[in-house]
Amino acid sequence: MKRVIVLVVLVLIAVVSSVITPLVISIEVPRYLKDLSRYYIINTIKDTASPEAVAAIVWDYRGLDTVYETLVLYLAIVGGLTIFMYTGELARKTPVGLTLLSRTATKIITVLISTVSAAIAFHGHLTPGGGFPGGSALAVATMLIIPVFSINTLLEKGVTSTKLVAIRGVSLTGLGLVALLPVIRGLEIVTNQRFYPGYLDGFILSGSISLYNLLEFLAVASGFTAVALYLSIPEEYYKGGDNA
């Protein structure tokens, strides 16, 4: 009861302050663009062949920053996986999942999440989104499968953490190669339009941006799925090894 009273008081304070604030302070909408944002809006499509200014800034104008950011995430996940490293064999118990109702719902939702995540990642150079949100969404789908269907379902389908780490390594190597390849022709590292084609037979490719998004999607999805697989190993396996 005390909880409800505190909550009501909190909401009342918030409502009153949100009513009073516009009366005291006049809210002004900016009417002019700054020079920097005007530059990006006008020149993005010409410089990078991408209509999405955010993706262009992230992977082209400030591309080197993002490559290093990906490296930081890679090291963080590899460090985490090293701590949770488990080399033994997981005992195949009979799968313990949830009821038929939640299984069916999860089947439908998983297909939907995978489709949406692929759309987010592969249209990352055209619409808001990109490799990282798409990969995280796909990882959520697998994190949903583990509690509902049990971890053995994933392992029997061949989704093992060794393979996932391998996919992650391959896609990150590809990402590094995409960034490094322009150096061969004497261009700067992370060059986009002067090395990669912007358009292919009428389709907008935006040069390296779509490649980066695809590889980042694979890397993030496999990395987070591997973390989820390691987290779902019961602690008894780490302690004694009697059950293993």
Partner: protein, 86 residues
Amino acid sequence: MIITLILLIASLILSIVFVYMAITERDLLKATAFSAGQSICYATILQAMGAADIAMTYVAVSAGLYSAILVFVISKTERFEEVSSE
């Protein structure tokens, strides 16, 4: 413009409710669900302010991955928080 403001204010107030419920809840699974609700409120705010890229990443990480990892952590400990009475 006015719709955006109303959406902002409604999401902010709803997020206060979710945060308070998450902090005072003793069932940690329910607290995780409230935390995810707060994340969705913040994502609505970001979308209302026109930052669609950030909103998408925020939903995937904060409502999806963060909640899932918290559920894994809760499964390794106890579900109900013990509160020492005075």
